[in-house]
């Protein structure tokens, strides 16, 4: 049940990010839209890894291996989430770098100003 809520939240966040990305003219806001979308995706990843009544997949005195198999959340999506987050951050950094250059080139951040090439 709980993971369904998380999943819904993640997907909603993706939609909100997309909405922001498509409606806002300001490049920084567009980048924020992308970040929201990325975060939504990460939440979806986590939701997918959830196992009913799960706990962290760390084997110690509190959680034996046999117990973990029935009770630990899926470690794979968690591992993937780490990678996905790093990559998301990387992409955001590049976008911001370009946003700076775009601003320097035209002194504006409106996406509508950057339509040099067409047809």
């Amino acid at each position: 049940m709980i993971s369904r809520i998380v999943l819904t939240t993640g997907l909603l966040l993706v939609l909100i990010g997309l909405w922001g990305m498509l409606t806002h003219r300001n490049i920084l806001r567009i980048i924020i839209g992308f970040s929201l979308m990325g975060t939504g995706t990460h939440i979806v990843i986590v939701a997918i890894g959830y196992v009913a009544n799960g706990t962290a997949p760390i084997i110690d005195r509190a959680l034996s291996v046999s117990e973990a198999i029935s009770r630990a959340v899926d470690p794979v999506p968690s591992a993937l989430a780490v990678t996905a987050i790093v990559i998301g951050m990387a992409v955001t950094a590049v976008m911001l770098a370009y946003a700076i250059r775009l601003y320097e080139s035209k002194k504006t951040l409106s996406i509508d100003a950057f339509t040099e090439s067409k047809w």
Binding site: M1, I2, S3, R4, L7, T8, L11, L12, V14, L15, L18, W19, L22, T23, Y50, V51, A52, A56, P57, I58, I59, D60, V65, A68, I69, S70, A72, D74, P75, V76, S78, A79, V82, T83, I85, V86, I87, A90, A93, V94, L96, A97, Y98, I100, R101
Partner: protein, 233 residues
């Protein structure tokens, strides 16, 4: 107006697709076979209690290596794009906010107190990655947060980019070298069993995972710091 409507239609349609996902979703009642294998294998074969770290630094270490490459490339890309690799561009001084106004004493004092703590915390996260929640990436990010704090508090502070660059290069190369060692000593590229597995749950255990974790932490910390530095006006 047409544009706005078409955006609405697109988002709503995508929402319907997503709705079908939510409706079709059933919560997992037990671990999937692959996950189950990992939960068995990581403690047993790799000697690491934290299954996720085990996956990240051995079974999917190739991904991790790729991620380091991504971060490394971002640092280079941002450098290329913002043109900060060579001598700094001639930016008029009035365009540089912060040069005129140093941050307040509160921030500076807070930074002085916090940065050592942050560093220790980062080291803890990095070094205990194989035992408990944490790992190189997380710790590296914490390191970078410390650097960010320093940059905010002391706008004039110039981190030693050369040092950071060499460190990240060496850490990356060592990571690859550890991978090659796996080829020679253990069962394959990036195998963690190049060092003894040690006692399960001990600090020095899980083969090369703590070492890799440390390298990763150092590298990520350096890279994030370099990226932050490049973004400074």
């Amino acid at each position: 107006m047409i544009r706005r409507h078409s955006i609405i239609v697109a988002i709503v349609s995508l929402g319907l697709v997503f709705a079908s996902l939510v409706i079709g979703y059933t919560e997992q009642q037990a671990a999937r076979p692959l996950a189950e294998s990992y939960i068995r294998l990581v403690p047993q074969e790799l000697g690491a209690p934290n299954v996720i770290t085990g996956i990240l630094l051995t079974y999917r270490a190739f991904d991790t290596l790729g991620e380091i490459a991504v971060l490394f490339m971002v640092a280079a890309s941002v450098g290329l794009v913002l043109g900060r690799e060579g001598p700094p561009r001639g930016v008029p001084s009035e365009d540089r906010p912060g040069e005129a106004r140093p941050s307040s004493e509160i921030v500076q004092t807070g930074t002085q107190i916090l940065v050592p703590l942050i560093s220790i915390f980062a080291a803890y996260i990095i070094m205990n990655g194989h035992l408990t929640a944490g790992g190189g990436f997380q710790g590296g990010a914490v390191i970078a947060s410390g650097i960010l704090l320093v940059l905010l508090a002391y706008p004039q502070y110039q981190p030693n980019l050369e040092f950071l660059g060499i460190t990240e290069s060496v850490a990356g190369a060592l990571f690859v070298l550890a991978g090659i060692a796996g080829l020679i000593v253990a069962d394959g590229f990036l195998d963690n069993r190049i060092l003894p597995l040690g006692q399960f749950g001990a600090f020095f255990s899980a083969g090369a995972i703590p070492v890799l974790s440390a390298l990763l932490g150092i590298k990520v910390g350096c890279e994030l710091s370099v990226i932050l530095e490049r973004f400074r006006p």
